[in-house]
């Protein structure tokens, strides 16, 4: 057992800035539970109409890739340039493809 936690848990906050856009990470805050996290997020991150919807996720529930995995995860995409449209040479007569 680690030392007893006196702090409220940490929550990561995601805000949809307006309809049609996805939620975006804006920061974090402490709150005792999810309901309080939402109302704190409202006060901390949307004082100037920055959002139309809020997600809160307990920070400990997020699984993240580690920077040392970067090469393993992302390098294989490097040599697959044929996935990009610019890889293909087409005659100028073909417009807008």
């Amino acid at each position: 057992m680690s030392a007893p936690k006196t702090e409220w848990p940490l929550w990561e906050v995601f805000i949809r800035s307006r309809q049609g856009l996805s939620h975006k990470h804006v920061g974090s805050l402490h709150a005792a539970d999810a309901t309080m996290a939402i109302s704190n997020a409202r006060d901390v991150y949307t004082r100037r109409q920055e959002g139309t919807s809020i997600w809160v996720v307990k920070a400990e529930d997020i699984t993240a890739s580690t920077p040392s995995d970067k090469d393993v995860l992302f390098d294989p995409a490097n040599d697959k340039i044929y996935r990009h449209p610019t890889f293909y040479d087409l005659p100028d007569e073909v417009k807008n493809m």
């Binding site: 409220w8 006060d43 920077p67």
Partner: protein, 318 residues
Amino acid sequence: MTQEMDLNQRFEAYIASDQKIEAKDWMPDAYRKTLIRQISQHAHSEIIGMQPEGNWITRAPSLKRKSILLAKVQDEAGHGLYLYSAAETLGISRDEMLNALHTGKSKYSSIFNYPTLAWADIGAIGWLVDGAAIMNQVPLCKCSYGPYARAMVRVCKEESFHQRQGFEIMLNLSNGKPEQKEMAQDALNRWWWPSLMMFGPNDASSKHSEQNMRWKIKRFSNDELRQRFVDMTVPQAELLGLTVPDPDLNWNEATGHYDFGPINWSEFEQVVAGNGPCNRERIETRVTAHENGAWVRDAAAAYAAKSAERAASQTSAA
């Protein structure tokens, strides 16, 4: 060892190419430490900074001014919270930071150890103190540590309202009755020099500057930013019809800058050392607020635990 060297090389390469360092990236211990020190002190300054202005909320001269001041003080709380969050990404807990503030182990900006004696002080703080803060903070939006830089973008967006409302208070007082103008002048007299001190010691005697410039935490030197602040603010004082309390202040045609008189660094050192007019009161107020809020934090935590238990037992029953 070689792995450490590789990591360090990658870190240096990131810094050199102006890429951001993110929370989970490898970083030298000293970089982490200096960021924790700077970001937590910055957060503390926002939180302690609520006190001198909070002092006037109940005595604001109109409902409009009271609403504005409330919103501003609430913003300062918000800024403190963004910054504490940014510091937490470096592996320090909120409790540790608050404890360091409450025990005097961690500092905050010494400007907040001066008292707000009159309503005009609220104008002077917005105009000068927030003006100086903006000068310091805008370059931090480009700081090499991602979470700090992003928090600063948010802070800077909100800070402009703070400075403008302060200048407007000064403008109204300066255009008012002679007593009001006198009040504005008196506030300028008292806040001018402490505002110049906000940029920190002269470059020659600044402890953390050089390394922080190399790591791109800091982008401009203390003296550079101070000069910019003077150059920007003096014409604004003229616009208000107020006199900057510095007999040595002069426009220097050759340099294209204002020359200004020597700063009283022994006063600065005294205030930093804890002997300013309000140091003790500020910390006492903070600690009392924290202690008086303990039962609320405990009750909310107990309620959350109980609700979670109840929800769990209901699921298992069903």
